[in-house]
C-alpha cells in the first residue's frame, strides 16, 4: 500500500493503543481525535483511575486546598476510547504488534504510543521501606495515605531528599505548623537541578521557614518500633532524628521494566526516540509504529547539542504527546519535530520557582535581575559562550524573554543592560553543579562476530 493510502486507511480504521493513562496519554488521545483519527483507540493504565494531575498532589493537596481523590484532568474533547484501567501492560511483541496485559489479555495495534511515565524510587532497604509511616509521593493512592497521616498531627515529618518534591512536602508541612526535618546528600536543596548558587538560596528558604535542614548527610537507616512503626532516622553524621512520618523523595525510576526483552531501546533511563517521537529499538534503528511521549521518553534536542533529554516536566508531557499523536497518523513529510524548550515550575515556602532551558548543562550563572538576598531574581546559565537556561524566583514574567534568548543562542555572559541589575550580577560565577560522574545504570550493548554479515548486537538489560 503506498504511504499516502496507508495513512488514510490508518486514520479511518486503524487501531491505536496508548499505554499509560496519565497526562501524556490523555493529551495524545485528544490530539489524535482532534486531528481526525476515526479508528479504534484503547487506553491502558495500571492505576484504576481516570487520568489525573500529579503536581497538585505535593502542593494544593498537602496544603489542604484540594482533595487527593479529585485531581482528575479536564478533557479538551471526547476521545471515544476503550479504557483498560487498573491493568498494567506486562509485555510487548514488536513483530506481532501486540501489547500483553497483566490479566493475560493481548491488545493488537497498528500504532502504539508508550507513555508509561515514572514511579517514585522507593527506599532501597525493603524491610525499612515496609515500616508503617514510611511513604513515597507519586500517585493518587500515595497522596491519600500521606495526606491522612499529615492530618493526624504527626510529631515530626522526616523528608529524605531535598529535590523539588521533597522541598514542596517540607514547605506544606511548615505551612501547617508540622515540625519537619529534611536530609539531603548534596550541600543544599535543588542543587542537582539548579546548582549550588541557587541551592544556597533554597537552603536559607528552608531554614527561615523553620525546617531542620541537614545537608551533606546520607540517611543510613530507618528504625522501627516493636509494632513496625517508624520511630527514627539514622544519619551518616551519627545523629538520630526521632520521627513518626518519613517521606522518601529520592527521585523517580522510569517505567520500562515491562519492555525488557521486547527489543525496544528501553532501559532505566527511559526509551530512546527520535525527535519525531518514534522509538528506537535496541539496535539503534528507529521503529515506525511505536511512539513515545512524556517522562519515559528520551529524545534528542537540537538546541542542546542533540543530547538525548529525559524530562520529567508537566509541559513536556503535553507538548510531546501532541507531537507524537500528530506524527503517528501522518506520513513522514508531514511530521513535526518535538522541539519544546524545557520548562518547569515549583512552589515552595510561598516562592514561585520557575526554570527554562537546561540549567544543569550550564557551567556559569549570572544574576541578571534582582538579588539572591531578596529571593526575587532571574539567574541566567551559560554554556560555551551562550545562554542555555534561566531560573526565576518570584520573577516569572521575565522568563519568556530568556526563552527567546535560549532559542536564539544568545551570547553569554549577558552584556546588555537589564531591569534591576545589581552589582552582584555584573559577572558570571560558577553555577556549582555536583560532579556528573555519578554511577550510571544504563543497559549495556555488546557486539559479537567479526565480519559485517555475522555481526550481532547482544543486549544486556541493566540491573535495577
Amino acid at each position: 500500500m503506498p504511504a499516502e493510502e496507508f495513512h488514510e486507511w490508518l486514520r479511518r480504521e486503524g487501531r491505536i493503543v496508548v499505554v499509560g493513562a496519565s497526562l501524556a496519554g490523555l493529551r495524545a488521545a485528544e490530539t489524535l481525535r482532534a486531528e481526525g483519527f476515526a479508528g479504534s483507540l484503547t487506553m491502558i493504565g495500571d492505576e484504576p483511575y481516570q487520568p489525573y494531575d500529579r503536581p497538585p498532589l505535593s502542593k494544593a493537596v498537602l496544603l489542604g486546598k484540594a482533595s487527593p481523590d479529585h485531581t482528575e484532568l479536564p478533557r479538551r474533547r471526547d476521545i471515544d476510547a476503550t479504557w483498560r484501567l487498573g491493568v498494567a501492560a506486562t509485555g510487548l511483541d514488536l513483530a506481532a504488534k501486540r501489547v500483553r496485559l497483566a490479566d493475560g489479555d493481548e491488545v493488537p495495534y497498528d500504532r502504539l504510543l508508550i507513555a508509561t511515565g515514572v514511579r517514585a524510587r522507593p527506599w532501597p532497604k525493603e524491610e525499612e521501606a515496609q515500616l508503617d509511616g514510611v511513604f513515597v509521593l507519586r500517585t493518587r493512592d500515595d497522596a491519600v495515605r500521606l495526606h491522612r497521616r499529615l492530618k493526624a498531627a504527626p510529631r515530626r515529618v522526616f523528608v529524605i531528599g531535598a529535590g523539588f518534591t521533597g522541598s514542596e512536602i517540607a514547605s506544606a508541612c511548615r505551612d501547617q505548623g508540622i515540625a519537619v526535618s529534611v536530609a539531603e546528600r548534596a550541600d543544599g536543596p535543588l542543587v542537582g537541578a539548579l546548582g549550588g548558587v541557587i541551592g544556597a538560596v533554597a537552603a536559607e528558604l528552608h531554614r527561615d521557614n523553620g525546617v531542620d535542614l541537614r545537608t551533606g548527610v546520607m540517611v543510613t537507616g530507618l528504625e522501627g518500633d516493636s509494632v513496625g512503626r517508624v520511630r527514627a532516622a539514622h544519619l551518616s553524621d551519627g545523629s538520630v532524628v526521632e520521627t513518626d512520618v518519613v517521606v522518601v523523595s529520592l527521585g523517580a525510576t522510569r517505567n520500562t521494566d515491562w519492555l525488557t526483552g521486547s527489543g525496544l531501546g528501553a532501559g532505566p533511563r527511559g526509551i530512546a526516540c527520535d525527535a519525531g517521537c518514534r522509538a528506537f529499538d535496541f539496535r539503534g534503528i528507529v521503529t515506525d509504529d511505536v511512539f513515545v511521549a512524556g517522562d519515559v521518553a528520551r529524545s534528542p534536542h537540537p538546541l542542546f547539542g542533540y543530547q538525548f533529554l529525559s524530562l520529567e516536566h508537566w509541559g513536556n508531557a503535553v507538548a510531546q504527546a501532541e507531537v507524537a499523536a500528530h506524527n503517528m497518523i501522518s506520513p513522514s513529510s508531514d511530521r513535526r519535530p518535538h522541539m519544546w524548550v524545557p520548562a518547569f515550575w515549583s512552589s515552595q515556602f510561598g516562592v514561585n520557582i520557575k526554570s527554562i532551558g537546561v540549567p544543569s548543562m550550564g557551567d556559569e550563572i549570572m544574576i541578571t535581575q534582582g538579588s539572591l538576598a531578596e529571593r526575587r531574581f532571574v539567574g541566567v546559565y551559560g554554556y560555551q559562550g551562550r545562554i542555555i537556561a534561566a531560573v526565576s524566583f518570584d520573577n516569572t514574567r521575565w522568563l519568556e524573554f530568556y526563552e527567546r534568548q535560549i532559542e536564539m543562542g544568545a551570547p553569554f555572559p549577558v552584556e546588555y543592560p537589564t531591569v534591576d541589575r545589581r552589582p552582584e550580577g555584573r559577572k558570571p560565577v560558577p553555577a556549582d553543579f555536583p560532579d556528573p560522574s555519578l554511577p550510571t545504570h544504563g543497559p549495556t550493548v555488546t557486539l559479537s562476530g567479526y565480519s559485517p554479515s555475522d555481526r550481532r548486537l547482544v543486549f544486556t538489560p541493566a540491573r535495577h
Binding site: 479529585h70 482528575e72 509541559g315
Partner: protein
C-alpha cells in the same frame, strides 16, 4: 456535576485575575504562586468561566468551558491547529 480544571503553571504569570474572580477556587500563595483546587463545585461554574476568560495568558483549562475552537476543528484543519 463538579468541574475538573487544570492550570498550565508554565504559562501562569501570577496576574491573579482568577483569584479575584473565583476566590474559592484560585488563591495566591505568596507574591506570584497560584494554588488552585482542581475540582470545583457546579455552583462555581459561572465564576470559573469568568476566570478562564479573564486569564491574560489563557492558562486555565476547565471541563466544558474552553476548547470550543478545538471541538469544532475538523480533520483537515487539525494539523495546523494543534500546538
Amino acid at each position: 456535576m463538579p468541574m475538573r480544571l487544570v492550570v498550565d503553571l508554565n504559562k501562569c504569570q501570577g496576574y491573579a485575575q482568577c483569584a479575584f474572580l473565583a476566590p474559592d477556587v484560585f488563591t495566591m500563595h505568596g507574591e506570584e504562586t497560584l494554588v488552585y483546587s482542581p475540582w470545583a463545585d457546579e455552583e462555581q461554574r459561572e465564576k470559573v468561566a469568568r476566570a478562564v476568560a479573564a486569564c491574560p495568558v489563557q492558562a486555565i483549562t476547565a471541563d466544558g468551558l474552553d476548547g470550543a475552537g478545538d471541538r469544532s476543528t475538523g480533520a483537515a484543519q487539525g494539523a495546523s491547529d494543534a500546538r
